[in-house]
Symmetry: C2
Subunit: 330 residues, 2 copies
């Protein structure tokens, strides 16, 4: 089929994307491919995620933050493998609302994050779609040979930790949609977290040799704990009383009548992009040293046991978790 | 935002995608990433293209052929770099019409092409979109260190060649849309070419050391010749009288009243996925040996000159080519 928007495609690459290209590996975006030399002693870590307007971002989200969300959610997957990010390929499917100002904003968002996270554009393609905009990125990082932690490394007796705070992703979505009645500064901070999460790359690299299993919290704390339990063939017990909350999340939470329902929202909502990890107790001091050095909160939220699935304790109740959330009662 | 279709996502991965996973590098699709060991002495070639319903494929195209078109258009980019393909990452954005039967067909198409081309699934993601379906793939291949030809390698004096036949991509689109009045067998063959082009991987690998510039014909023969001219800082002269046509394309062409307009359609329509290459005359015998060995047509269609841009000769006229097509007159 003849490409739609051929001039636009050419100019988009020329004006907006070429300045972002990796100086060594991208062939000036003129060759349909990136060519990457081998790096002996290192494994290449690859991850690929797409974001779709109306599903993963809101139709009125500014395009610079959309680009940054795409970049950061993918970087978060690299962080969970302890990888040092260096490049990405990008497929843009612009909707009709994406004229030059929107494309320029998108490229500006990429430029900011390229600098912030040390990555450069390697290749990809750009096209126009009659539907909602969507963008897909493949992120690449290096990790020393054999050094990438898996989800399957949790062992009974390990402690379970999470970085940062939980629930700000879900609250941020509510904030971005104008559904939160908190003071405006907190609403803005939460919406910002939803639009521009912070991937824990430095912490991931610092602790990759200390952890059993590690992954990022994207589906929600409990769902992601289930992923680790399943992949590792173990059970996880979580103490939700100690779930780390931000000041904004506390302000929201403290006004709920049904604490259990409120906590469920926070730990199942997802989009947190913190790291969830397990480690032997003897690594605790080392983990905390790295967290302190990076001024990152690290909370011990549970332990790994023999068995299967996730069991969460909250307000004296034991809650069985399944994939989508928890079963009330118990 | 809570993911749409979570159960579907999980089951799609479990039932349809996991059986396609690479046994060594995909971590059973359980880890959000692929981890690829270094291969000293080789460069990694990466390419990424997306296809969108209503833009790159038709809403009623069977999903197995959509999967195969996605795979093959990306493999064609690897072929042009002489790479040996081994794996891919995939982002699926299913539309509402994509229920289980359609997803199963899509996976079946992938399975067929995995076998045909020696590639395995490395990772990716799957989501549901409120708009038209779209799919994006990142294909990976190996090429001996420094061995990937570029678009920028054409030198004055080189001859210009193309594999296979030109115009079947554009005619195939017309055929798939029911716009061609040819006998049904030819219509079916052209639609098949549009839906399932054949990437020239073996030929690309065989000749990578013989060529100056090489790329695949996706935008159209003349537009892609322009890409080589620009990237190499040279001019290309094409003799369109010798444009290789399939029997079906001949049958269509011979019934046109305006031969020049008809030829323009064939050489600007795109979607051919043949290889366009330049090489020194002294390599001609070696190129033909490889083409003969693979039973692949190879046509010398022009030459590289000093200067810029592409000039095409047809029916005694000289036609200036610009990016979108040619300028009539001259």
């Amino acid at each position: 089929m003849p490409a739609v928007d051929v001039a636009g495609e050419f100019e988009t690459i020329e004006r907006l994307l070429r300045p972002l290209a990796h100086p060594d590996y991208a062939r000036k975006l003129a060759d349909d491919v990136a060519v990457l030399p081998s790096r002996p002693g290192f494994d290449l870590v690859l991850t690929k995620d797409a974001i779709v307007e109306g599903v993963h971002f809101l139709p009125d989200d500014p395009l610079d933050t959309v680009a940054q969300k795409l970049m950061r959610t993918n970087l978060s997957d690299l962080a969970a493998k302890g990888a040092e990010a260096f490049g990405y390929l990008l497929a843009c499917q612009w909707s009709e609302r994406c004229g030059w100002p929107e494309r320029e904003a998108f490229a500006a968002g990429l430029a900011v994050d390229q600098k912030a996270f040390g990555v450069r554009l390697l290749g990809g393609d750009t096209a126009v779609t009659p539907g909602p905009a969507s963008f897909s990125a493949t992120l690449l990082g290096w990790v020393p040979k054999g050094g990438a932690p898996a989800r399957s490394g949790a062992r009974p007796g390990d402690a379970v930790y999470v970085t940062g705070t939980i629930g700000d992703g879900w609250l941020g979505l509510q904030a971005a949609q104008g559904r939160l009645s908190l003071d405006p500064e907190r609403v803005a901070a939460l919406a910002e977290h939803y639009r521009r999460p912070v991937p824990r790359l430095e912490f991931g690299q610092a602790v990759r040799g200390l952890v059993g299993a590690m992954m990022d919290v994207s589906d929600g704390l409990v769902a992601d704990a289930c992923h680790i339990a399943r992949a590792s063939g173990v059970g996880l017990e979580l103490d939700l009383e100690v779930t780390p909350l931000s000041a904004a999340a506390h302000a929201w939470f403290d006004n709920r009548i049904d604490a259990e329902a409120a906590m469920e929202k926070l730990v199942t909502g997802g989009d947190d992009y913190e790291l969830l990890l397990t480690a032997s107790e003897r690594e605790e001091a080392a983990l905390r040293r790295e967290a302190d050095r990076l001024r990152l909160r690290l909370t011990r939220i549970g332990r790994v046991v023999s068995g299967a699935g996730v069991e969460a304790r909250y307000l004296g109740k034991s809650l069985r978790i399944d994939h989508g959330g928890w079963t009330h009662g118990g």
